[in-house]
Symmetry: none
């Protein structure tokens, strides 16, 4: 549950988990290992990228996901390790090249996708350029070397001037060996502006957030499990694909996510089920919607338990307290259920306050996968 | 509160915090993040230097404060980065150069200060020597290079033989490049002994604890805050000055410390208020005096809260249990109060026993500043 943990509501003096009714989770908590995890480190508020890498067992300070990559991850696209990604906007420019609208009047997604197809696939100096629709005026660009010996360094400045009334900026190399990548990016912008000359209001492109792929050992190799991501939102699918998970198609509700789990249960060893609503409600400061999202998930727990998993981990990637309307640094509630759990039967509820009594204490996010694997008795002893 | 934490009194079976009455701190605890910190590491008893560096957010194993430097810090003196400091004693020697009294009969501070002035300011081989009165027979020496290219390595042996009946020892270089510093120190000792020939019983000087300045990033830069230290004892002012804090003048009681806070509240972003009595009472094994010191601080809490701070951290630099009459390794009670706190309302008192139920658990001292900054919403997200 994305953004699971909270802080006390200023008037109710209770957290979202304390107000929500979740009998099934409560029953599990009294026979599970409970506690908290720190996604990155004590006191550090994580973005979605590092937070997910942490719960997937990676050190988020070792593997950094650039903004351009993170956004591009939401697109259904098979990245390759030498790819360079960036975020793009269709924009409006006047005859002097001045940007008059950074979002091209937020053109419709259909029209935008059509323009993407117009630009997609061009080759520039041995680099193939993929132009992938995202939503409205937003798209992703992926630069892929298709000739040997070509490297595209991602340390590039934005072309997007960030406000109207200015010209598109030339992309600049921020390190010595990024000159070639900068030149390709600038040639692509020139090419796009020419192709879009008659496409007013979308007659210009702005690029920002250039980022290289990260070279990360696949989850499937690290843990030796066939893994399936079940998510609704594109970015989380992309994050999971990035670490080598398969991604289930066609989920659009929490119920359909758990149905997808059931359908695919025999085909995989590990499932990551991502629930977005808890976080979006937290970001909106909508306390009762976050409560409802937690309750919705709780209703799916009995069906999940019928599948008889070796291990069930229930947690979030970070806390998103409604009172703060943002991600926060607060340790994230964590429950690990298995037949090998050392539990505290005094825990009566799945809440932050009750979990203080848990057998896990406070651990780094990276330890979750280790504990899950051990709980499933899939790890050998360390040393003789 | 220096030395805040304790252990149970052998007969009362309660700690100092459990016996003390501190209603204001208790009320805060039930709506604050509570727990413990380890100043250096689990099981390690820290000195004052490392303990304070830890709570100021520095790794005390990375930045070491030599004894000579720590003692000199108490003197109101502007250290420079190439300075070499040492602790000094006026001593009595006989005609054979044998030390007959290592403390020169504990001469009065006035008389001692006069002798310091006699020696202060001499130049030896391009090094200026500052001689700074401390108390009674004790003084600090600072060697400062005033010609280019001179370096004073601090790896030097003591001249102080540590017992009577022996001669002043020659200062020796403990590493190859400390030869020049040793020679300057020995020349200074010879110079002093000559100048003091008629100053019996203070006719000799003993030097020990040579230490270089530490090169530490200023607190004001690290955290981007204007910081004021409010303390009574010189050493804590010196420690704060060392990390770049301003130091308030003229505090001599706990009440005056909190008045100083009020007066300066608009001029700074961060305040470090140091309470000495808790530690001195602990060191003396005076249980009721430590209880009283805690109660005195508690009475100042309402006035502090009227200032409406974003974040209030109440903790110690280390534990000083009265039953041990010394610093100890026990984790130090820690309370972080802010509107963004995730608290445990089950906590009824500001005590070691109650804090076990806190939301913070046990954390390294270095994380305190991170949590305080996050609680004030002064830190950006990590990653996208």
């Amino acid at each position: 549950m994305d953004g699971l943990g909270g802080i006390q509501h200023p008037e109710l003096k209770k957290t979202e988990l304390e107000i929500a009714r979740h009998d099934h989770l409560d029953a599990l908590a009294s026979r599970s290992e409970c506690g908290f995890h720190h996604p990155v480190d004590i006191g550090i508020t994580p973005g979605s990228g590092p937070a997910h890498l942490g719960i997937f067992g990676y050190d988020p300070t070792e593997y950094e996901i650039g903004r351009g990559l993170l956004d591009s991850l939401g697109v259904d696209f098979e990245f390759q390790k030498n790819d360079l990604a960036a975020r793009g906007n269709f924009a409006t420019s006047n005859s002097d090249g001045i940007i008059t609208d950074r979002r091209a009047g937020r053109i419709a997604s259909d029209a935008s996708a059509k323009l993407c197809r117009l630009l997609d696939g061009v080759e520039i100096d041995g680099v193939k350029v993929f132009v992938l629709p995202v939503k409205e005026h937003r798209f992703a660009v992926v630069f892929r070397p298709i000739k040997d010996g070509i490297k595209l360094a991602g340390a590039l400045s934005d072309s997007d001037p960030q406000k109207e009334g200015l010209k598109n900026l030339p992309v600049k190399a921020l390190v010595a060996d990024a000159g070639f990548a900068a030149s390709v990016a600038n040639k692509f912008i020139a090419y796009a502006d020419e192709k879009l000359a008659d496409a007013h209001p979308a007659n210009s492109v702005l690029l920002r957030g250039f980022a290289n792929m990260i070279d990360i050992p696949p989850f499937t190799d690290v843990f030796g499990m066939r893994a399936l991501c079940i998510a609704i939102y594109p970015m989380y699918k992309g994050l999971s694909r990035l670490v080598g998970m398969d991604v289930a198609k066609g989920c659009d509700t929490i119920i359909s996510e758990f149905e997808t789990l059931k359908k695919n249960y025999a085909g995989y060893d590990f499932f990551f089920i991502h629930i977005k609503n808890t976080d979006s409600a937290g970001e909106d400061g909508d306390f009762s919607r976050k409560v409802k999202a937690i309750e919705d998930v709780d209703l799916c727990i009995p069906g999940l338990l019928e599948l008889n998993p070796d291990v069930l981990v229930v947690t979030g990637d970070h806390s998103t307290p409604c009172a703060m309307k943002s991600h926060s640094w607060h340790p994230v509630p964590l429950m690990i259920y298995s037949k090998n759990a050392r539990y505290n039967p005094d825990i009566k509820r799945f809440t932050e306050r009750e979990f203080i009594k848990g057998t896990l204490g406070q651990i780094p996010a990276q330890s979750i996968m280790t504990l899950a694997m051990s709980s499933a008795q899939k790890l050998a002893k360390f040393g003789a």
